[in-house]
């Protein structure tokens, strides 16, 4: 019996094999969304727990990689919804710069605040599209929607970000 068929039938060894094959991809995807390595590890385990729990619904002829990415995206989205206002931007991931550190820090704080004010589904899409540069098709597949819906959400997220930043006295790249 194939590995995916054995997994769908509830074989723990098959699940372990799939876990070891895919844990790195799932982790890499989640960490790009939540930007917190410790939380990404927890959410990777949560994702595989959801995968194991819903194994009976998985079609062995389907694409396990796409299915796991979709479940990972939902787990990350649930996390963003729960932690909307207290997720810190990890300073270890801050870009190196030659600009005035005080201005840079202020700008980063403002962006963090503007980002945290975005609704979770827009924050997820904005992070993947605007920061990570992920193609719309790939985001659409992970979110379970079409590329045109992703494009619209990116547009709305940019508009909301601009509005939030403008309320803090910051326009794109130039302080007012």
């Amino acid at each position: 019996m194939e590995l995916l068929e054995r997994f769908a039938a509830g074989d723990l060894e098959a699940f372990e094999a799939l876990f070891r094959q895919h844990q790195r991809d799932v982790y890499a995807w989640i960490v790009r969304i939540v930007r917190d390595t410790g939380m990404a590890e927890d959410l990777t385990v949560e994702t595989f727990w959801r995968i194991y729990r819903s194994r009976a619904r998985f079609r062995p002829d389907g694409n396990f990689c796409a299915w796991s990415r979709r479940i990972a995206t939902n787990a990350a989205l649930d996390h963003l919804r729960a932690k909307r206002h207290d997720t810190e931007l990890d300073e270890n991931f801050a870009a190196p710069t030659r600009r005035d550190p005080a201005i840079q820090n202020e700008e980063r704080q403002a962006l963090h605040k503007a980002f945290s004010q975005l609704p979770a589904k827009y924050r997820l899409i904005a992070t993947l599209a605007l920061i990570e540069g992920e193609p719309y098709d790939s985001i659409a597949e992970a979110v379970g929607t079409s590329a045109s819906v992703v494009k619209i959400r990116v547009f709305r997220a940019v508009r909301m970000l601009r509005k939030n930043l403008s309320a803090m006295g910051i326009t794109a790249g130039v302080r007012q």
């Binding site: 790009r32 590890e41 385990v45 962006l111 980002f115 605007l130 920061i131 940019v158 794109a172 790249g173």
Partner: protein, 73 residues
């Protein structure tokens, strides 16, 4: 909002929040996964409860089916 504004905002984001790309997993998470699986509560699907209730009701209403049920078990 025009295309240039959009690019400026992307630049602002890139300047402050760099892309992470493909971060490597620092350790194997299988031990945590096993721990999570062991915490999994015993769960009986609703369909099994419905089936048990149906059989129980049938036995109460038609006791004559008990030998047939025992035969098929």
């Amino acid at each position: 909002m025009n295309h240039q504004d959009d690019n400026e905002l992307r630049e602002l984001l890139k300047r402050n929040i760099p892309p992470l790309g493909n971060r490597d997993l620092p350790r194997d998470l299988w031990p945590q996964m096993l721990e999570r699986l062991s915490r999994q509560p015993f769960h009986v699907p609703w369909f099994d409860w419905a089936l048990a209730a149906l059989v129980g009701a049938a036995v109460l209403i038609f006791p004559g089916i008990i030998p047939a049920l025992l035969y098929h078990l």
